[in-house]
């Protein structure tokens, strides 16, 4: 930009030189200096004025581009509100706006169609899955079944169950993403943790896992109670599933819930971890959707989720 600005000096200097030359050619000698001075001064004013005007235009264009960036930053693909830009006196900016609106509309349509598809697909899958399960259950009851047949039915059942669970997780995700949980209230996460640990009591006992709790304060969050329960359940379940020691630790303070377990070093980076379907290859039964659910719940509840591994200690924290 600076080099371009310096270029203004060239036409100004040229004009001055040409002016001098013309004056020298046609003017009587004693007028020459006064005329030259006037010419010089007016040319200078012209130059400065020219630059000032350009500067003003550039600033206005920059402000308008800033406005556009601001609008784009606020843009939420989930919100049905139409994106609008202020009309600009510059045609080039208007043209840019038109293109942006067109692209946004198209992206939004694709996104909605995609989302709708996932949602419909998982809902439509529910009934056929239930029917398959039902028929297998009925077949199981028929007399004269042999071991081979039981084995086959067992395999069908197991896989259908996996599909149902996966499907249920997808439906839950799409519900969260569709903001179906809007019943925000003050939720005491300490109490929620108590309740859920109670549900896991049997499991913890069977796996000989001790829960070390440290409560420094009451962590209250404005969020959906149902989601809070799912969130804490998923965090605890995740910690138990990947645990390699005989304890997990939970720390709760006024603005932080933290759960940690000792585990294998994960082959996934913290960023990859939250992507749907990414999972550690060694833990077979996990569906890889649990962490996505954790993350989405945090997003819609204005919480921050943090994950780090410190010397094989996997720590999840929400703030």
């Amino acid at each position: 930009m600076t080099s371009l600005k310096q270029l203004y000096i060239v036409p100004v200097l040229a004009a001055v030189l040409v002016g001098f030359f013309l004056i020298w050619l046609i003017m009587p000698v004693h007028y020459i200096y006064q005329t030259a001075l006037i010419l010089l001064v007016s040319l200078l004013i012209l130059g400065v004025g020219f630059r000032w005007i350009t500067y003003q235009r550039v600033t206005r264009i920059r402000d308008q581009i800033k406005d556009i960036i601001g609008t784009l930053e606020e843009f939420d693909i989930d919100e049905p509100r139409k994106v609008t830009f202020e009309k600009s006196p510059y045609p080039i900016i208007n043209e840019l706006n038109e293109y942006l609106i067109e692209i946004i509309d198209r992206v939004r349509q694709n996104y909605q169609a995609n989302k709708q598809f996932t949602q419909n697909a998982s809902h439509e899958l529910q009934t056929p899955l239930a029917v398959i399960k039902g028929y297998v259950e009925l077949l199981l009851q028929s007399p004269n079944m042999h071991e081979k047949e039981f084995e086959a039915l067992g395999a069908i059942l197991q896989n259908t169950n996996r599909l149902s669970k996966l499907n249920a997780a997808l439906i839950l995700l799409s519900k969260i993403e569709h903001q179906r949980f809007t019943d925000f209230e003050k939720v005491n996460l300490n109490e929620v943790t108590d309740e859920i640990l109670d549900n896991f009591k049997d499991l913890l006992f069977a796996q000989e896992i001790e829960v070390q709790r440290k409560e420094e304060g009451i962590f209250e969050v404005e969020m959906s109670a149902a989601l809070a329960e799912i969130l804490i359940t998923n965090l605890i379940q995740n910690a138990i599933r990947h645990n390699e020691s005989d304890f997990i630790s939970i720390e709760i303070s006024e603005d932080r819930f933290q759960i940690a377990n000792l585990g294998k070093p994960s082959s996934l980076t913290p960023l990859q971890l939250f992507k749907r379907f990414k999972r550690d290859s060694e833990v077979e039964e996990s569906l890889g959707l649990g962490l996505s659910i954790i993350q989405r719940i945090c997003e819609v509840s204005d919480l921050e989720v943090e994950y780090q591994i410190v010397r094989n200690r996997h720590v999840f924290a929400i703030k």
Partner: protein, 239 residues
Amino acid sequence: MSRGLVLLIFFHLWLMKILLIEDEQGLTDILLRSLKREGYVCESATTFMEGYKKITNYEYDVAVIDLNLPGGDGLKLVKALREENTQTGIIIISARNTVDDRIGGLDLGADDYLTKPFNLSELNARIKAVLRRKTNQFSKELIFGPLSINLDERTVIAGGTELKLTKKEYAILVYLTRNKNRIVTKDALAEHLWGDYMDEAVSFDFIYAHVKNLRKKLTDNNCGEYLKTIYGIGYKFDV
């Protein structure tokens, strides 16, 4: 009147009548087959109006009602049925699983609420529980030879001695007896005991441990032969 007809009418009065209001044909078929197998007399309706006509014209012991019906909300049927008749047990089956739906349904007088998809053995157990509460035909005691389970006092007596069962062992035993002579799958048992909380692999280990303890207690009192393991699938209470 022929003897057969009299017998038929007598049987009809004696058997439990169940109405199933559900619009998914595939699910209706499977549920009817499962219920008939248990010896209930079943009728089905696939729309709101059909269901409404049936509940206003006939009497049933249990009505199983889906909430999403063509032609109207199943909750209205629950309400209508409750106003008409207080004896009929009502079980809602629904894919809607919000707390509001659940509470709304139970407030209107439903006896139970089952979220889709569910296991056939779960519906079977719930129907029996509702029937026991609503009618006197199902006694508070389940008796199988030397084994008797008192459902009110939650005690189990085998061969004259009272068994000391844990909560989970008792729940497993009651669930299996409610589905007697049927194979109950491990996952149905897991869902019955813990809902959706558990990981499959973990809960199966867990059920295995509980059933092992339960079997030992039963065997020690000569009741072990009722409890059969169907390898890889689940368990069966054989009478």
